[in-house]
C-alpha cells in the first residue's frame, strides 16, 4: 500500500501527560511524526492535536484505533491533504546589510504575500503563511542573503467536511453517563 501524508486530528481532554501518551503510540510503531501542533479547539476545555505522518492508509486506520482507545481521547480523525484546508507559518530572520541593498528580493516578498514583521539595523524578520512549497520557495530565495534563523510551525488544518465533534461533546454534557 502506498505511503501518503495523513493529517490526524485528535480531540482530547486537557491533561498533563497526554502528549507523551499519544506520541508513544507513534514511537511504538516506529512512525516518524512529520509535525505536531497542540492547541485549544473550538470546544471549551477540549484540546486539539494535529499530527502529520507519512504512512499507509491501513497504518493510519490502526493508529486511529489505538489513539481513540486512550482514556482521555474524545475522538480522532484522519484526512488526506485533499480533504483539508491547511497552512503552515514560517519566520525568517535575515541579515539587514545584505537585504536592504537588493530590491528584487523585497519585491519577491511582496509578491509572495509574505510580511515583514520587524526591522532593525541588524536584521529583518519576515513571516510567511502558506503551503509547504511556498515556504520552501521563500527559504531558497532568502538563503543566499544570510538567513540567520528559520523556523516553521507544524501544519494547522481544518477539514472541508464537518467533523461532528461539537455535537459529540454536547451529547456528553446532556446525556447522563451510565457505565
Amino acid at each position: 500500500m502506498e505511503k501518503k501524508n495523513y493529517t490526524i486530528s485528535i480531540y482530547t481532554e486537557n491533561n498533563i501527560g497526554l502528549l507523551s501518551r499519544i506520541a508513544a503510540i507513534f514511537l511504538k510503531r516506529h512512525f516518524n511524526i512529520e509535525s505536531i501542533t497542540v492547541s485549544k479547539s473550538e470546544v471549551k476545555e477540549v484540546m486539539r492535536f494535529i499530527i502529520v505522518v507519512e504512512i499507509t492508509e491501513e497504518q493510519v486506520k490502526k493508529i486511529i484505533g489505538q489513539i481513540e482507545k486512550q482514556i482521555e481521547v474524545i475522538r480522532a480523525y484522519y484526512h488526506t491533504d485533499e480533504e483539508l484546508i491547511f497552512q503552515e507559518t514560517a519566520l525568517y530572520k535575515v541579515n539587514s546589510a545584505e537585504f536592504v541593498e537588493d530590491l528584487t528580493i523585497q519585491d519577491f516578498i511582496k509578491e509572495t504575500n509574505a510580511r515583514i514583521v520587524t526591522v532593525t539595523p541588524k536584521f529583518f524578520v519576515i513571516e510567511k503563511t502558506g503551503k509547504r512549497h511556498e515556504i520552501d520557495n521563500l527559504y531558497d530565495k532568502l538563503k543566499p542573503y544570510g538567513l540567520m534563523q528559520f523556523v516553521r510551525s507544524g501544519k494547522i488544518a481544518v477539514s472541508k467536511n464537518e467533523m461532528p465533534i461539537s455535537s459529540i461533546l454536547e451529547d456528553f454534557n446532556t446525556i447522563n453517563i451510565n457505565s
Binding site: 501527560g17 508513544a24 482507545k69 482521555e72 474524545i74 457505565s179
Partner: protein, 577 residues
C-alpha cells in the same frame, strides 16, 4: 418532600471527615472492596504504610520480596477472582520494578491498580533521592496513569483508576502520589466512578452484525470457533458453551482462553498456535467460517498472516474496536461485551451438528496422539518427561486445580496437557511471556481462591528469576504447591538453538543450585524426584500437603515441544517432529 428529606439524610451520613491523603488512599481501597494488596515499603510511600498499619485488620498487605513479585501476585489474584489486583510501591526503584508486571497486565488485559509513592511535589524534576518519572516510564504500558500532587484529588482519581482498570477491556492503571499529597489533609467523601465522558468501555452492540454473524454460522459447512480470554473477562463461559453446543461447532482456544470451557468437553478440540494441537491449527486453513471470540489474533496464534485462514470468512466478537482488522480482516465484526453479544447470537442460531467436520479434528488428533502425545504420556524408559508430570497432577486434581505456569517449554506442556473443569483456572503470562511470573502469581492466585488447590509449574530458569518469593510464601504460610521441572536448560531457547542455530547452545545451559536445600532454607517442605517410579507418590504427597510444598522433578534435558509452527510458517505447516 420525602425524597428531599431522604437526600438530606444521605448527605448527613456522607458528611466528610478530615483525613490525610495517605488515609484517604486506604479508605478508597476499602470503598472498592479491596481486602488484599501486595507491595513493598520505602521512603516516599511511608505515610500510606503507616495507615496500613492502622488498618491492618481490614486490609491484608502482603510483603513480597521484590516489587515485581507484588505485581505478579496482584495479577494472579485478579486472574482467578476477576477483581482488581492492587499493588503498592515506593518511588524510584520501587516504581521501576513494577514495570514488567504492568506491561504483562497490559498485554494480557488484567485489571490492576498500582499505587506508587513519589518525592514531594516541590522536589519534582530536581533529581531528588529515589525520584523517577514513573508516569512517563509507565505510559506506554498502562491503560491509564496519573500523578497526584494534591491530597484532595485522591478520592476521585482512585475511583477513576478502579473504574478504568476493571471496565471494558481491563488493564493496569498506575497512580503516582507525591509524598506531600499523602501528608496533607482533605475532607474525604467517596463516590464510585460511573463513567468518564471521553471513555467508552462498552461499544454499542449492533444487532444487524449479530444477525449477519448468525447467518454465516447457520449456513457454514465447516465452522470453527477460536475463543480467547475475552470469554472469561466477560463472564460468558456458560454462554459460549451454549453457542458451541447449539451450533455444534468444534472449538479451539488460545492460551489465555484455556479453562473457559472444560478441557474434556466433546467439542473442545484443543489449543491453536505455535505449540497448539495439530487439528485446530491445520483446520484453521480448511474451515469455511472462523468465529473468533474474545481473542486478538496474536502472531503466536496465527503464524504467517499471509497464509492464515484465507479461505474462511472471519467473524470477530470483540470488545476493543482497535482489535478489529488489526491483524486479521473480519468479514463480520461484532463489537461488544461477549456476554451480551453471545446471548443475542444464541437466539439466532439454528441447532446443528457438524459430525463429519468434527471427525476431521478427531482424525488429526489421532495422528498427533500416535506421533507425540502417546510417547509423552506413556514413556516407559529414559528420563521423565514434562507431560508425565502434568498428567500425574491431573490424576490427583481431577482437573479441579488452578494451574499457574511460567514461561517456556514447561508452559506449553502444562497448557497442552492440564485438565480443567472450572474457568479462571489457568494463570499464565501469555502475551508478554514473562519468565518469573508463576511463583508470585501463584501466591496471589491462592490468596484469591484459598479453597482451591493452586499448583505452580515452573522451569528451572524462570524459577530463579523470582525465587526470592519463597520468602513471601514462608512468611504468609500461603499453601501453594510448586513444581519445578528441571532440565538444566533454558529449554525453549535451547530448542530453537537446536532447530534453527545448528545446536549452538549459547548461554542456555544452567548450572543449578540445590533447589530442595533452598526451599528448606525457607522452611518449606521440599522433595526432589529423579525416577519415574517416584513420581506418583511424590505428586500425591505434594497435593495432599496442607502446607506449601516444593517439588523438583528432574526431567529429560533435551526434550523438544511439538507440534510446532516455526516462525514465518503457516498454521497448516505445523510440524509434528
Amino acid at each position: 418532600m420525602e425524597v428531599k428529606t431522604a437526600n438530606k439524610e444521605k448527605k448527613i451520613k456522607q458528611a466528610p471527615t478530615t483525613v490525610s491523603g495517605a488515609e484517604a488512599v486506604i479508605k478508597c481501597l476499602l470503598e472498592e472492596g479491596i481486602d488484599t494488596i501486595y507491595g513493598y515499603p520505602g521512603g516516599a510511600i511511608m505515610p500510606v504504610y503507616d495507615e496500613l498499619y492502622k488498618y491492618q485488620d481490614k486490609i491484608h498487605h502482603v510483603l513480597t520480596r521484590h516489587e515485581q513479585g507484588a505485581t505478579h501476585a496482584a495479577q494472579g489474584y485478579a486472574r482467578v477472582t476477576g477483581k482488581v489486583g492492587v499493588c503498592i510501591a515506593t518511588s524510584g526503584p520501587g516504581a521501576t520494578n513494577l514495570v514488567t508486571g504492568i506491561a504483562d497486565a497490559q498485554i494480557d488485559s488484567t485489571p490492576m491498580v498500582c499505587i506508587t509513592g513519589q518525592v514531594g511535589s516541590h522536589l519534582l524534576g530536581s533529581d531528588a533521592f529515589q525520584e523517577t518519572d514513573i508516569v512517563g516510564i509507565s505510559t506506554p504500558v498502562t491503560k491509564w496513569n496519573y500523578q497526584v500532587t494534591k491530597a484532595e484529588e485522591i478520592p476521585e482519581v482512585l475511583a477513576k483508576a478502579f473504574y478504568i482498570a476493571r471496565s471494558g477491556r481491563p488493564g493496569p492503571v498506575l497512580i503516582d502520589i507525591t509524598k506531600d499529597a499523602q501528608f496533607a489533609t482533605l475532607d474525604f467523601t467517596y463516590k464510585k466512578c460511573a463513567g468518564i465522558r471521553s471513555y467508552k468501555p462498552f461499544p454499542k452492540v449492533n444487532l444487524s452484525e449479530i444477525e449477519r454473524a448468525a447467518e454465516l454460522i447457520n449456513s457454514a459447512k465447516k465452522p470453527m470457533i477460536v475463543f480467547g480470554q475475552g470469554v472469561i473477562l466477560g463472564g460468558a463461559e456458560a454462554l459460549l458453551q451454549q453457542v458451541v453446543e447449539k451450533a455444534g461447532i468444534p472449538s479451539a482456544w488460545t492460551i489465555l482462553g484455556l479453562s473457559a470451557m472444560a478441557t474434556d468437553h466433546p467439542l473442545n478440540v484443543g489449543m491453536v498456535g505455535m505449540h497448539g494441537n495439530y487439528g485446530p491449527n491445520v483446520l484453521t486453513n480448511d474451515c469455511d467460517v472462523l468465529i473468533a471470540i474474545g481473542m486478538r489474533f496474536d502472531d503466536r496464534v496465527t503464524g504467517n498472516l499471509e497464509h492464515y485462514a484465507k479461505q474462511a470468512k472471519v467473524i470477530h466478537f470483540e470488545i476493543d474496536p482497535a482489535e478489529i482488522d488489526k491483524n486479521v480482516k473480519a468479514e463480520v465484526a461484532v463489537l461488544g461485551d461477549v456476554k451480551e453479544t453471545l446471548q443475542l447470537l444464541l437466539g439466532f442460531l439454528k441447532p446443528k451438528n457438524h459430525d463429519a467436520w468434527h471427525q476431521k479434528f478427531k482424525d488429526l488428533y489421532k495422528i498427533e496422539y500416535d506421533k507425540i502425545i502417546n510417547n509423552e504420556l506413556n514413556g516407559k524408559e529414559g528420563k521423565l518427561g514434562m507431560a508425565e508430570v502434568i498428567d500425574e497432577i491431573n490424576t490427583s486434581s481431577n482437573g479441579d486445580a488452578i494451574i499457574v505456569s511460567d514461561v517456556g517449554q514447561h508452559q506449553m506442556v502444562a497448557c497442552r496437557y492440564a485438565k480443567f473443569n472450572k474457568t479462571r483456572s489457568n494463570v499464565t503470562s501469555g502475551g508478554l511471556g514473562t519468565m518469573g511470573f508463576a511463583l508470585p502469581a501463584a501466591i496471589g492466585a491462592k490468596m484469591g481462591k484459598p479453597e482451591r488447590q493452586v499448583v505452580a509449574i515452573i522451569g528451572d530458569g524462570g524459577y530463579q528469576m523470582t525465587i526470592q518469593e519463597l520468602g513471601t510464601i514462608f512468611q504468609t504460610k500461603v499453601p501453594v504447591k510448586i513444581v519445578v521441572l528441571n532440565n538444566g536448560f533454558l529449554g525453549m531457547v535451547r530448542q530453537w538453538q537446536q532447530m534453527f542455530f545448528d545446536k549452538r547452545y549459547a548461554s542456555t545451559e544452567l548450572i543449578n543450585p540445590d533447589f530442595v536445600a533452598i526451599a528448606k532454607g525457607y522452611f518449606i517442605k521440599a522433595k526432589k524426584v529423579t525416577e519415574r517410579s517416584e513420581l506418583q507418590d511424590a505428586i500425591k504427597e505434594m497435593m495432599d500437603s496442607p502446607e506449601a510444598y516444593f517439588l523438583e522433578v528432574k526431567v529429560e534435558q533435551e526434550e523438544n515441544v511439538f507440534p510446532m509452527i516455526p516462525t514465518g510458517a503457516s498454521v497448516s505447516d505445523i510440524r509434528l517432529e
